[in-house]
Amino acid sequence: MLDDFMTRAALAGVGVALAAAPLGSFVVWRRMAYFGDATAHAAILGVALSLALQISIFAGAVAVALAMALTVTVLTGRGYAMDTLLGVLAHSALAFGLVAVSFLSGIRIDLMAYLFGDILAVSRGDLAVIWGGAALVVGLIGWRWSALLTSTISSELAYASGIDPKREQLVLTLALAVTVAVAIKVVGVLLIAAMLIIPAAAARPLSRTPEQMALTAAIIGSASAVIGLQSAYTLDTPAGPSIVCVAALVFLGTSVLQSLRS
């Protein structure tokens, strides 16, 4: 079954969608969309370093994404606004990454594959990394779910319940770095934030509880991956962007539904 590249691609897309759904819900609730975007952009530097050092791209991307996210977390509140810091760090990392890649002589690198993903080239090994990473992210968020939710609603309420919101923020940062790293192959660094935010935002009007929203986002994300791949195959369009397009159409649909209801 895994011999078929379309099956492998679909499984990869669903894996990323499953990890992105609960994480993406938190990104939406905590207004971290730009943070997610910035972390993803920084990952291209990780890709360049991995290629130069000949280590696994997954490891390099996780390391740089994590370093980026931690730097922003530490520097916030020291005189710069969060979005300024993110703008500086994310685009610098992206630029340095692109420059670094150009120094790598001898290896012909298809940069487009990392910027927009190369889901149709997913190997069995990639699949193992994606599902392993997704399981890690879902497990981590599931384990900390109540604490994360409490600190998202109010850090004071969290403290009063004996939860340290800073530690929960670290959990999310770690989950974000892993998600970015596993999603590079599927949608590329430029569209990772879309996989985080769009399914969660599309799920919002259909949900009454946080759990429902995360679950609905997982269904919407997975369906977008499968339908997007099919359309890409039929219409001969790029696969990653096609997946995001389908998710965006679902978002449009549920938003219209909501405005009709109210």
Binding site: V28, W29, R31, S146, A147, L149, T150, T152, I153, S154, S155, E156, L157, A158, Y159, A160, S161, G162, I163, A201, R204, S207, R208, T209, P210, E211, Q212, M213
Partner: protein, 254 residues
């Protein structure tokens, strides 16, 4: 021992000293109100008490096993987060739907379990926050400007509810407020804070103290009787009128 006691705590942010040598204690079953103008360190004090911040000097002791219920200032609930009242009350976990319903009842808003948090009115929202603080049967209830955003009848009703909660559950209450006329009548003891403890004692005593009048004027004195609670025990006045920070007295009022 006291439920919670702060001893000589000081906090400063950079060169700005927010709290200087503040001591206070809450005994079981009493209602204590901390009043103070904006920037007097009220909220910092409450953050220290719930453990969200640490003092630079001094120490805070809690009675072992102390259960604290915390009602924050009006809390912003992001509309992108769908959550029912019941789910909110069950955070961070462990409470049954029956316990949620009982807490809502005690907070004076029965039957809201299945409503969305974002669909509540201001008064309902504050009572849901109160219900959440009550759900674990706290020994001490901490309220931070809990009636901000409520109109005057709304806050009066809210404070009556607090008194009722104290009567029914016997928990101690520490609240922070600038709504002097409403709060003071309901309190057993008032602590007037302005970076340091200016004066402390029964509501009548504090409202007559020159330190208090210097901070708040006399305008609120006449409204003290808005709804005075009806037990006529007496408190010892401990307010030292020739007041200076180093010689203030910090014993409990009774």
């Amino acid at each position: 021992m006291s439920l919670i006691a702060a001893e000589n705590i000081s906090v400063s942010y950079g060169a700005n000293t927010v709290l200087r040598d503040v001591s206070l204690a809450v005994e079981s079953g009493e209602i204590v109100t901390v009043v103070g103008p904006n920037g007097s360190g009220k909220t910092t004090l409450l953050k220290l008490l719930i453990g969200a911040e640490r003092p630079q000097s001094g120490q805070i002791t809690r009675k072992p096993g102390l259960r604290i219920g915390y009602v924050p200032q009006k809390l912003h609930m992001d509309p992108t987060l769908p959550i029912t009242v019941e789910r909110f009350l069950r955070l961070p976990g462990g409470n049954t739907p029956a316990a949620c319903a009982a807490a809502l009842e005690r907070a004076g808003v029965p039957g809201l379990s299945q409503r969305q948090m974002s669909a509540l009115s201001g008064g309902q929202f504050q009572r849901v926050l109160l219900a959440r603080a009550l759900i674990n049967e706290p020994d001490l209830l901490l309220l931070d400007e809990a009636t901000q955003g409520l109109d005057q009848p709304g806050s009066a009703a809210f404070y009556l509810q607090i008194e009722e909660v104290r009567q029914k559950t016997g928990c101690a209450i520490l609240m922070i407020s600038h709504e002097l006329h409403v709060v003071m009548a309901a309190s057993d003891r008032v602590i007037c804070l302005n970076g340091h403890v200016c004066c402390e004692g029964a509501p009548e005593i504090v409202s007559a103290a020159p330190e208090y009048r210097a901070l708040f004027g006399t305008g609120t004195g006449g409204a003290l009787a808005l709804y005075r609670h009806e037990h006529d025990h007496t408190h010892d006045a401990i307010c030292t009128h020739d007041h200076a920070p180093q010689d203030k007295r910090i014993e409990a009022a009774e």
